[in-house]
């Protein structure tokens, strides 16, 4: 079985013929060798010097405490460590402390790296599972047909709009609301009604979060109340215009609308108390009970 990578694969212990492979192998193995030497010094307090000439005749060396001191000691055939003055002992202690800190830092980074690798494996499994489901839109872009690309693009643009609106709202949540107590709120509402949709949604959410007074509350609540009734009342109006005798049917038709309004209030006003609800309903009834003149006065 031929492996895709050379991990955990035994190789023939002879000089490599491929020149570029030889360079890469040298670089990796030299690094690994120095790593082992460093660990040996840390764990056992040994002094080590390693000198390696690369295939390009460059020299790489590792030493602890340093290459020159170890080599000098070896060449001079000095069996004992050189007599250390207080200054040298102090430097030795400081060096060991620095190395210890670096080793701790290295350990931290390595553990974080291991965590990220686990995460990578999990995400990889998720991707493979998704691919098994056969969702073509998650394939690379180069594998899709033109019609698929265009449909996908449209859907993605819609998602982009929603995400942009949500992001801007998230930002606005941290900005003071200039609409609090301002009468221009209605004007803004009217203007946005005619232009486009997304800001309307945004403004509506802001209004729901406002500390509104009675006037603002009533103003806002009238609109949803009349969103549904227009159909029924419109029919009644037409009947009234053409057949006057049908005026007696006004009361039976009125009840279903009232029920719808109550349900709507319950859904939209979860924290509303009883008096507000009654007042709201009463206002609606009076709109139809009083002459147009009173209605104009109210507005």
């Amino acid at each position: 079985m031929v492996k895709k990578s050379k991990g955990r694969q035994k190789i023939e212990m002879v000089k490599m013929k491929n020149e570029s492979n030889l360079q890469v192998t040298f670089s990796k193995r030299r690094s690994g060798l120095f790593k082992k030497a460093s660990e040996l010094c840390t764990l056992c307090g040994a002094e080590v010097a390693i000198v390696v000439f690369s295939p390009g005749r460059k020299v790489f060396s590792f030493g602890h405490p340093n290459v020159d001191s170890v080599i000098d000691r070896f060449i001079n055939n000095n069996p004992l460590p050189p007599h250390q003055h207080n200054n040298m002992q102090l430097r030795e202690t400081r060096r060991n402390s620095i190395v210890q800190d670096l080793n701790n830092h290295l350990t931290q980074v390595l553990s974080q790296l291991e965590t990220e690798k686990k995460k990578y494996d999990e995400l990889k499994k998720i991707r493979e599972k998704t691919k098994a489901l056969g969702n073509w839109w998650e394939d690379p872009v180069e594998e899709l047909a033109l019609s698929q690309l265009e449909g996908f693009k449209g859907n993605l643009e819609n998602l982009k709009k929603v995400v942009t609106v949500e992001a801007s709202r998230f930002f606005q949540a941290n900005v003071p609301n200039f609409y609090v107590g301002s009468s221009s709120n209605n004007a803004a509402f009217g203007i946005d009604d005619g232009s486009h949709i997304n800001p309307d949604m945004d403004l509506f959410s802001q209004r729901r979060m406002m500390d509104i007074n009675a006037f603002n509350y009533n103003q806002n609540q009238i609109h949803p109340n009349h969103a549904l009734p227009p159909f029924g009342n419109n029919a009644y109006g037409i009947n009234e215009g053409f057949v006057p005798e049908y005026n007696v049917n006004f009361r039976p038709e009125y009840n279903p609308n009232q029920n719808q309004i109550q349900n709507q209030n319950q859904v939209q006003i979860q924290i509303q108390n009883q008096s507000f609800k009654r007042e709201n309903i009463s206002e609606y009834e009076h709109h139809h009970g009083y002459p147009p003149q009173s209605r104009s006065d109210y507005y």
Binding site: K58, S61, H105, N135, L146, G151, K160, G241, S294
Partner: protein, 278 residues
């Protein structure tokens, strides 16, 4: 099972000595492999705290040969690639950090991609995300859209260069049902907003009709018989019974006269209205 070793001096003297012996052997083995595989020259000198005589690899004479070559080089060449433990560990930390950052970025991209497809399929709700995720998702969608756009342009150019017949066929091809389902559901969510907007328009339209209707109604009451007037009175009475009289009257009749007459007799409230209208 392999145990994670702490990178610090081993406290136990016996354990330290044993580890030294094992690891020294392993290190020299790696040095041998390096020399064999790459056909290079190398040497190693190891001083042990436990032994005053140093270990030399491959041999004392071999070390002396390599060291003499080493010394023949200029100081610059010798020190260019020379590292001590401090320098080596620092370099290693930098390398590992770079690798860590690269892997983190890759993981983050994978997560955002899963998030995007989750939103498209309707499995994830955009409104549950926080600000940072929204911004990252927005950037990723931009990148992906650019890729899609470029791909579409390439296909269109290829289509134009060939005969015009294949292009309509490709354009008419229907997308798989499996994909349309979730996306169609998501598309409906967008459609809800126009519907609400239409409600607003309908309300504006309705707002104008009642005035005309009521005016017409009043005119009929003037010309027709008494029964029509009685119907109007009934409506008024029902309205009063349903609500709180004072508050409602305040809302609809700012005049002081109406407020004063409420306590005397209910029927009097109707009379002034009719008089005003007449």
């Amino acid at each position: 099972m392999k145990r994670k070793m702490k990178l610090s001096l081993i406290e136990n003297s016996v354990s330290r000595k044993t580890t030294f012996t094992k690891r020294k052997k392993g290190m020299t083995k790696k040095l041998t492999e390096l020399v064999t595989l790459c056909g290079v020259e190398a040497c190693a000198v190891v001083y042990s705290p436990f032994n005053s005589i140093p270990e030399a690899w491959p041999s004392r004479e071999g070390v002396e040969d390599v060291v003499s070559k080493f010394m023949e080089l200029s100081v610059l060449d010798r020190t260019k690639k020379m590292v001590d433990q401090e320098t080596f560990i620092s370099q290693r930390i930098a390398k590992e950090k770079e690798q860590l950052q690269k892997l983190r970025d890759e993981n983050h991209n994978s997560q955002i991609r899963e998030l995007m497809f989750g939103c498209l399929k309707g499995e994830t709700n955009v409104y549950n995300l926080d600000g940072r995720d929204l911004q990252d998702l927005s950037l990723y969608i931009d990148k992906y859209l650019n890729g899609l756009t470029r791909r579409i342009e390439i296909l269109i150019e290829n289509g134009e260069s060939s005969s015009s017949l294949p292009l309509p066929i490709v354009a008419n091809a229907a997308a798989p049902v499996g994909f349309d389902g979730p996306m169609f559901q998501y598309h409906n969510q967008n459609q809800q907003k126009p519907v609400q907007f239409q409600y607003q328009a309908l309300y504006d339209f309705y707002d104008q009709i009642p005035k005309k209707i009521h005016g017409f109604n009043m005119n009929m009451n003037k010309d027709s018989n008494q029964s029509m007037v009685l119907d109007l009175n009934q409506n008024l009475n029902d309205g009063e019974d349903e609500g709180i009289p004072c508050m409602d009257n305040n809302n609809y009749h700012p005049e002081i006269d109406c407020l004063a007459t409420v306590t005397t007799a209910p029927t009097d409230v109707c009379a002034p209205n009719i008089t005003n209208d007449l």
